[in-house]
Symmetry: C2
Subunit: 615 residues, 2 copies
Amino acid sequence: MDSDFGVPRELSDLQKLRANYQPELPPCLQGTTVRVELGDGTAAADPLGAHTISRSFPHTYGQPLAHFLRATAKVPDAQIITEHPVIRVGLVFCGRQSPGGHNVIWGLYNALKIHNPDNVLLGFLGGTDGLFAQKTLEITDDILSTYKNQGGYDLLGRTKDQIRSTEQVNAALNTCKALKLDGLVIIGGVTSNTDAAQLAETFAEAKCQTKVVGVPVTLNGDLKNQFVETNVGFDTICKVNSQLISNVCTDALSAEKYYYFIRLMGRKASHVALECTLQSHPNMVILAEEVAASKLTLFDITKQICDAVQARAEQDKYHGVILLPEGLIESIPEIYALLQEIHGLYREGVSGDNISSQLSPWASALFEFLPPFIKTQLLLRPESDNSAQLSQIETEKLLAHLVEAEMNKRLKAGTYKGKKFNAICHFFGYQARGSLPSKFDCDYAYVLGHISYHILAAGLNGYMATVTNLKNPLNKWRCGAAPITAMMTVKRFSHGPGASSIGKPAIHPATIDLKGKAYELLNKNALKFLMDDIYRNPGPLQFDGPGADTKAVTLSVEDQDYMGRIKKLQEYLEKVRSIVKPGCSQDVLKAALSSMASVTDVLTLMTSPGGSAPM
Amino acid sequence: MDSDFGVPRELSDLQKLRANYQPELPPCLQGTTVRVELGDGTAAADPLGAHTISRSFPHTYGQPLAHFLRATAKVPDAQIITEHPVIRVGLVFCGRQSPGGHNVIWGLYNALKIHNPDNVLLGFLGGTDGLFAQKTLEITDDILSTYKNQGGYDLLGRTKDQIRSTEQVNAALNTCKALKLDGLVIIGGVTSNTDAAQLAETFAEAKCQTKVVGVPVTLNGDLKNQFVETNVGFDTICKVNSQLISNVCTDALSAEKYYYFIRLMGRKASHVALECTLQSHPNMVILAEEVAASKLTLFDITKQICDAVQARAEQDKYHGVILLPEGLIESIPEIYALLQEIHGLYREGVSGDNISSQLSPWASALFEFLPPFIKTQLLLRPESDNSAQLSQIETEKLLAHLVEAEMNKRLKAGTYKGKKFNAICHFFGYQARGSLPSKFDCDYAYVLGHISYHILAAGLNGYMATVTNLKNPLNKWRCGAAPITAMMTVKRFSHGPGASSIGKPAIHPATIDLKGKAYELLNKNALKFLMDDIYRNPGPLQFDGPGADTKAVTLSVEDQDYMGRIKKLQEYLEKVRSIVKPGCSQDVLKAALSSMASVTDVLTLMTSPGGSAPM
């Protein structure tokens, strides 16, 4: 199965050009001296979950943030690491392939060799299966040469996306011990980084020398929190899909007779749909987060679309483009309830053929109302994480079907007087995933690879490599690392009145912030998008010239840089301390005391339970 | 409906860059002097149809080929046109939108204004509907500015693709008279150019001054014959789709667990599927022409794929990418027969609900065997040209379904011992059509626009603009024009023993030449493609640097340049004539006679009925 891994690939001319592209490093990572500044200990963002998390991760919870600094930075407490004993590092692709993944390997390899030519990087072949079975490939310059800046995960491959069961965790531990690894780098999304945190804790408990590092690589873009601004792959996926969406918009505008319903990736969150909307300005997007927040039913959504179609018809427009994420179907309350019943019956051992007859009267009524193709798809067995098989459920066809039926009804009733409604459906699922990565993803992944080395050189365990201030040019990027446990939350499930249970601590997918700036931007333009056909065509992914350096709109409008602000705060505190040294005047001391008291009061109020914490 | 046409568009950075791109002209079109050389009268390639065609087109059949020459070319017979009285030209988009269409307008506009600033170009709004209703937009520099080198047909729009009924033809005639047009340029594919020829004939018969010119623009690439090497749009469509196919290949190689079945455009011919295969090297392509030639049944095709899956499994490979054109379904003999029965019942007035019960026993047995989703799709009403609704029939899902069933059967029987077969299906239909056109399509369309002017300036009617020698750099392109009637053939239909009828003369879609060089290239590599995963990723469409000037593989391997050779032959004949002038020696005359006698014999033999004509 892995016979093909690591084999040199025949590259096209464009691929060769890209293979010769050398990403730069931010100033803080240049040179061979690592300067790391450790900040205060971190806490989980969710104070209610903090206790549970700290109990589950006694060795790795509460560790400080780490900032990597340029060699010349004047920070008194920074630790300077100049000795670089030989280390051995393993790396595994874990989770769905994302453009840019290969560059994490390259960046890490490069950092390892710069700091000590005897360092060793082993790639696990076939993803987690290779990790469990100790199947490795030693990374060399030669092996990397046809994979630099290239898409896919085909240098090492991937298999299952889990390192979770006791058996799996033990197998990983044995591998790390047997191969005498100083570090294990796990490349993946929300699930894989949760697993990485668990491994780090288990390794620490077992006094295993291997430090575990996570790298945020997922095209869904849902591993987002105060430390992580975006994920490797998201930029490329959105650019490739926006190109295709714009092509469809141009097409709609040329023939003016079809509504195109396009389903995009995005299971738990609609980041791809939102970003593509902001890049290509289709007429409408239906975000799962909006539907969930407003508890919109299938009928509400259908009505919304029909009203839009009718309003456009009144302006003599019979074409349009409507986006939706694959996760939409699970966010519609009554469909979610139906899916829960179906999955519950599966768990009870009912066979697929018998499920429809055993549904509750309510669920059965809904089920019977749905068109046959969607019935078959809803009856598919759930995935291993209990979610529906979202890539197989053609929500776009369901909506097109319902809208058509409703428009025909209105036409018959005389409340709609326009032309017949025609829809064409598309699923943009897999065709972007293997794309050549954008320049941004090439750079970001390469830098994260370097940071992974610095984390290991600093002896840190259970950290994720982070880059913040990403919306600014690369030489302004801030490099750091955050304990993965600080990104975790704990979910509470209620099972009817009174009964509730607490989930395991985990990184949960970040959904779209309906109070955030990106969503606000969408809202501000929604009516223009809907009515005015101000389609925008960013064109195919370019690597040079206009557009090549464009960043995601959602990244650019959000005002994140949490890590930068944490640093800034530290500087203020340091400054106050240095001004108000023993020996300073009484006046200065009094001013400091009174100001600090007021700051402390405000913050205490904001962070007390019931306070208006803005997070 | 047409309120939006001609409106300036907001362009993205990349679009702006492209809008500033100025295609060059081949030397023969530079300057303001048109030199046109008229060759011998043309004949239809199919001698059996020639009589029917000449009878249907008494005014426009048998006209000479035209070659446009550089001002300095030393050709004694060339007509030099230096006077350019004011002319008024109309232009209409007719047929499915194809990347590059806007550049035909630009090229034509540019040529008109260079030769006489008072010339007028009117675009018909909303395609043929605008032609019939005399709705026009006068093209200006200003209007063109945001449409230069841009995709879609949204400057003018398109509607129905036909100018055929007496009513439609008369409406077009009235429009041309009312607007006092000297020329009407029709941009489209096989059908539209057939209509153009009919219009030209009707106009000539009616002594209407308007000359009709056709321009070969169709993304299917099936308007191919001895005069036309490729069509505007085909290059872009194949590049965009090849990008996506390669992405899917990379994806398959990363996870190694899925077979991807991808359906591509191509109704009557599989040119897009063949070109994409040669660009991206997927494991397999099923060409409709192969299936039709070998009369492969659904079971044969299923078995072929299953055997391939099994052979790959023996090499521990459980992934793959398989391409097919949307027209495949109609080329499978028994499905074709079933579709004919269904469409026949529709013509008899049977309603869709009752059709399945009225099928013949044989057709009914096949129909019942098929999975439900495909039954519904086969039962869709045929399109206006009597073909099935190919974009709606998910042949890729049907094949994936049948292959899965067969692999499970083999697994159960123990004849297959590999892992479970998993398929994912894609239809790459509309997402490439609105793309920014490739450099090649920008150039080709722009040059064709210029040639359209030269055809009108030379007073020719019923001609198609042609460029040959396209595989060579632009400064080697040969520009000319060929009577559309010379591209026509006549189909004979047999309706049971003895009875047969003759169709109307028309340009028919050119299918893949199974003896041609492109197909030979595929065949030579088919086994390597199938087994060795030598996927090739041309990457996203680029406008600069490597890959930007790449031409279609099928264009490059074919050794076409028919127009060039016709010219060469004329030169030889001219040379013989000039050497063997009265007064030459007896020996020279004898040598000439004997050589010419032998040439004449060979050619007579080759072109006599029953002779081995290679066409």
